[in-house]
Symmetry: C2
Subunit: 200 residues, 2 copies
Amino acid sequence: MKAAVQSIEVKEAILDATDRFLSNFGYKKMTIDDLAREVGIGKGSIYLHFSSKEEIALSHIDRIVERVKEQLEAIAKSAVSDEEKLRQMLLARVLLRFDSVQHYKQSLNDLLAGLRPKLLARRKQYFAEEAEIFAKVIKEGQVKEEFQKENAVKLAEIFLLATNSLLPFSLTTQELGERREIEEKTLRVADLLLKGLKKV
Amino acid sequence: MKAAVQSIEVKEAILDATDRFLSNFGYKKMTIDDLAREVGIGKGSIYLHFSSKEEIALSHIDRIVERVKEQLEAIAKSAVSDEEKLRQMLLARVLLRFDSVQHYKQSLNDLLAGLRPKLLARRKQYFAEEAEIFAKVIKEGQVKEEFQKENAVKLAEIFLLATNSLLPFSLTTQELGERREIEEKTLRVADLLLKGLKKV
DNA sequence: CTATTGACTAATTTTGCATTTCAGTCAAAC
DNA sequence: GTTTGACTGAAATGCAAAATTAGTCAATAG
């Protein structure tokens, strides 16, 4: 079991280093040799954890989204109203992503230009998974007769869609604007959406 | 006056040709010589209408947004309810842009990669202008006591923000999805936003 | 015996340089 | 007064040699 724990720690360390290299140099200039040296393991050992360089970059993005999803689940389980949960969840999905790439000099889209098709495919998957979590909370609100009773997953997708332009994908956080502006905009959108959701 | 009309026709013809070259070859491969030959005028004459190649590409985008704004104004003046106006306007801003770049093989963002800073600056301006038109309609609804009475411009900005991820900027229309899916998503977002707007 | 490594290779990227192409100008033509 | 296309410096492109790198695997370490 020690070995398994160790293995996960190394994997995390590789992704930590990936974040540093991506933010400073971009995908192309990040080399597997650099990565191995930074983590303090042999180059071949990188391939014990990841099948390719692409897979490393993609896993790094996966990790960010996993963290977002964990945070969403935590909010979904917390002890506030369903309306407040949705508001906090929208804010979390936007700001956690903002904070995760704040130090990047290029947009993810530019950074990972070579992996675009794969990145887009994953993005679609991410949104589907996020939508599931939102849908769960919406359903709870529907059971309590607080929300309108349209298809919960479709409603969840709209919530994501309406905040997607605030995510740092094709724009850098610089280009998106100040963090507190983003926060305010997200809350405003959330407000209108929630009013619409409650309406009978 | 003949000359002035002629001048505008030539300018339009240059932008028409620009659209063809951009969609087929992209910004870099589009040359001023090609453009002049296509329009049937001398190269120097291009510069009687535009100050630079950048300006041509940017004017082409300007023209698309001008057409969107004209359409928005037309809907704003039409004889339907304010709610219906807003719904149609959201649909128009999304679908008119979709149709305008449907034949492009790259996203605008990639196509005009070299002009990104200038393009982003204009985008901001476009949204401000669109927001003004939306705000006008929202104010009318507020006067009729149909809509909630928050700052109309801020509300308008939210309407745009919530549909911005459906615009073909960093994604091609291919990547965005089928036109009718886009249409359906826009209508769903519009629906929720409008319910929220009406709520007291 | 398993886990890890880094020298190795094929493929890709970079470099340096010669050649071509092109954006923008302006004197001449219309 | 308009329009033009030959002209120019700057930028892009092509190309071959050199350098770098992703991924492998036989050797090594534990």
